[in-house]
């Protein structure tokens, strides 16, 4: 994984000698190249989907309740995708997010049962996040210091965390009967469920972290050019550990959310969420080779997938047809995004 090469597209460009340009064209180009501009294709794709939804399902789609329902569903994989965005920007991958979520949910529920006496429910949240962070730290240390490829490390963690969850829970689902916790996770503020607020907060925090802090800057630097980051004095290994911990933390937060949503902890929570998260991140325009990515894109990616699921549901489509359509729409979304974001293809063949 240390073989990070710079994308071959950027070979030898030196337009430093100022070239006269039509100012409007220049402004449009600058916008399209900006992070907002890169996402415009996704926004278009999302709008198209919303139109399709409204046309095919009318008020059932465009109602406040339905929007909340979409967002509630989106919020859990959404939170995971934010952590995943960092990992992928840093040039890594985390296949273990779903099963770490499952493990966190189990440990937190068990703790709740044990600690029912004290009744201080925020401890559940702390425990869920701590379990996630721990799993992330193990991933990070093995990857950064053990130099095992991220794909294998997190695949191993996927197996191990799920299995540990099964052993701990003895494969039974554990109900969460902690009133305070359930009230918190199921409550709402200004009519918007707390689950959605949690996603909003994580997404905003993620955006700030990525774009406004040294942490984010280092993450982009490492993913963009591992060697250059190292030679600029960044402690690359330590930072990679932090990045995987961050991903574990988002899994822990998602575990809290799913506990609230389902009221139960089970080792099967989060199965295959890694695929959903990676897909949202990639559709969102983050490069799988690292070095570039956007939180806004990821959020749009998550929304696109969840609106799609909702439209299928409302239109009562045959499951298999759904899957085929979903496949086609993934391709279409990526194509739309590329058409808008591409700054002119430079290859000929």
């Amino acid at each position: 994984m240390s073989e990070q090469t710079t994308p071959p597209a950027e070979v030898s460009l030196h337009p430093d000698t100022a070239r006269p340009q039509n100012p409007t064209v220049a402004a449009i180009r600058r916008f399209l190249a900006s992070s907002a501009g890169r996402n415009i294709g996704l926004v278009v794709a999302l709008i198209i989907l919303i139109i399709i939804g409204t046309v095919t399902a009318g008020d059932r789609f465009a109602s406040f309740q339905n929007v909340l329902s979409i967002l509630r569903l989106a919020s859990i994989t959404g939170v995971i995708s934010i952590g995943m965005t960092f990992v992928i920007i840093a040039g890594g991958i985390d296949l273990s997010v779903g099963s770490v979520l499952g493990l966190s949910s189990i440990v937190a529920t068990m703790a709740a049962v044990q600690l029912a006496a004290t009744g201080w429910w925020p401890l559940m949240i702390i425990i869920a996040i701590a379990v996630g962070a721990l799993a992330g730290a193990v991933n990070g240390v093995i990857i950064a210091y053990g130099k095992v490829v991220a794909f294998m490390t997190t695949l191993a963690m996927l197996l191990a965390a799920r299995a540990l969850a099964e052993i701990l829970s003895n494969r039974t689902t554990q109900g969460v009967n902690v009133r305070g916790f359930l009230e918190f996770t199921r409550g709402d503020v200004f009519g918007v469920p707390n689950l959605i607020w949690m996603f909003v907060i994580v997404a905003i925090a993620g955006w700030i972290l990525l774009n406004r802090t040294t942490f984010g800057r280092r993450t982009v630097a490492i993913g963009g050019n591992h060697e250059a980051a190292r030679l600029a004095g960044i402690n690359v290994k330590r930072h990679m550990v932090y990045v995987y911990i961050l991903s574990g933390v988002t899994s822990g937060i998602a575990a809290v959310m799913i506990l609230g949503r389902t009221g139960a902890g089970t080792s099967t929570h989060g199965t295959l969420y890694e695929l959903d998260a990676i897909a949202a991140v990639v559709v969102g325009g983050t490069l799988l080779i690292g070095g570039r990515g956007s939180i806004v894109g990821t959020v749009l990616g998550i929304l696109i997938f969840n609106v799609l699921i909702n439209i299928f549901f409302l239109n009562n489509l045959n499951t298999s047809v759904q899957a085929i359509t979903k496949g086609a729409i993934i391709i279409a979304a990526v194509l739309i995004q590329q058409r808008f974001a591409s700054r002119g293809s430079r290859s000929t063949t």
């Binding site: 339905n66 569903l73 689902t173 109900g175 139960a264 099967t268």
Partner: protein
């Protein structure tokens, strides 16, 4: 009320009940029923879906909405939310995880929508108007008892078990029931492997199992769908010193039992018509009708389905209700 065996012949529409049958069959107000279940990623679940659909098609007064099958509790919750938003008249729910879907089911009930809970039970009685359960523990007991009967005189007999997906509670329950029944006759499970309810998975683990156990007297395979693979592996290994008991009751398994040509001698029914029953009951509940075969004025709240054993002797009785 506990009712066993009454659903041995569902879907035929020709029950021989009292005078209420015609009343129940008579077309009433059109009702919208929402159905959500786990991903139809194997034969039994596929059969659950198609039986539900077929059942709904029989009644002109049912408008069935089937949500995409999923193994993700969170997505299933949102499907039920969707049904509530849509104000359907009844919901038939085969939850991917009973406890995890309880809360949203209660929400539906509170919104005045009766919920019919199928196969995997909610953790609260307030979550469902009617509960129809297959009996996973009982399935294991039936299989174990049958094996005991066959091997009872041999306390050293080697018993093997090919389980389904180990992380599912239902697999646990089946295994527990099996072990309990074997204990009664002094046997135990000597070799246990878990597949994944798929044919290829069944084949893969069984070929390994046969290596691990050079001599076997009886095998219980939890699921006839993966059983196709289990039998293929047994075939390939050329082993026939044991007999095998299946599970769920697929057409292929019953054909094999009827033909009595291989090691498969029996299978334990796990009704794949539960959801169809659910649809039927949902219609009755939503239309305010009662169950025709019993004297109750209303539909009962809890029905546990039997898990009978099918052998060469009684296969004729069951074969028409098997799933493909």
């Amino acid at each position: 009320a506990l009712l066993t065996g009454c659903t041995a012949a569902p879907g035929t529409g020709t029950q021989t009940g009292g005078g209420t049958v015609e009343g129940n069959e008579a077309t009433g107000d059109t009702i919208v029923i929402g159905f959500s279940g786990p991903a139809a990623d194997h034969g039994w679940l596929g059969a659950i879906n198609s039986a539900a659909k077929a059942e709904a098609e029989k009644y002109p007064d049912i408008d069935l909405k089937i949500a995409e099958g999923t193994n993700d509790a969170s997505l299933q919750i949102s499907q039920v939310e969707g049904f509530i938003n849509d104000k359907v008249d009844a919901i038939v729910l085969l939850p991917t995880d009973g406890a995890a879907l309880t809360e949203v089911a209660i929400k539906a009930m509170e919104a005045g929508i009766p919920v019919i809970n199928v196969d995997r039970e909610f953790s609260s009685t307030f979550a469902a108007r009617v509960t129809i359960l297959g009996d996973n523990f009982g399935m294991g007991v039936t299989a174990g008892t049958y094996i005991c009967e066959q091997l009872g005189d041999n306390p050293d007999a080697i018993v093997a078990e090919v389980a389904g997906i180990d992380s599912l509670p239902l697999t646990q329950q089946r295994s527990e029931g099996f072990a309990t029944a074997l204990e009664d006759c002094g046997l135990k499970v000597n070799n246990r492997v878990a597949a994944d309810f798929t044919i290829a998975g069944g084949e893969a683990v069984t070929s390994q199992l046969l290596q691990a156990a050079p001599k076997i007297d009886a095998i219980w395979n939890h699921d006839d769908d993966q059983g196709v693979g289990v039998l293929a592996a047994i075939d390939a290994a050329g082993r026939d010193e044991f007999f095998m008991v299946g599970g769920a009751g697929s057409r292929a398994a019953m054909d094999a039992i009827q033909a009595d040509s291989g090691v498969l001698k029996a299978t334990v029914i796990y009704p794949s018509t539960q959801a169809a029953d659910g649809i039927r009951l949902a219609r009755l509940v939503a239309q305010g009708k009662s169950l025709s075969d019993i004297v109750e004025v209303e539909v009962p709240s809890r029905i546990v389905l039997n898990a009978p054993i099918v052998t060469k002797d009684n296969v004729d009785k069951f074969i028409d209700f098997s799933f493909t």
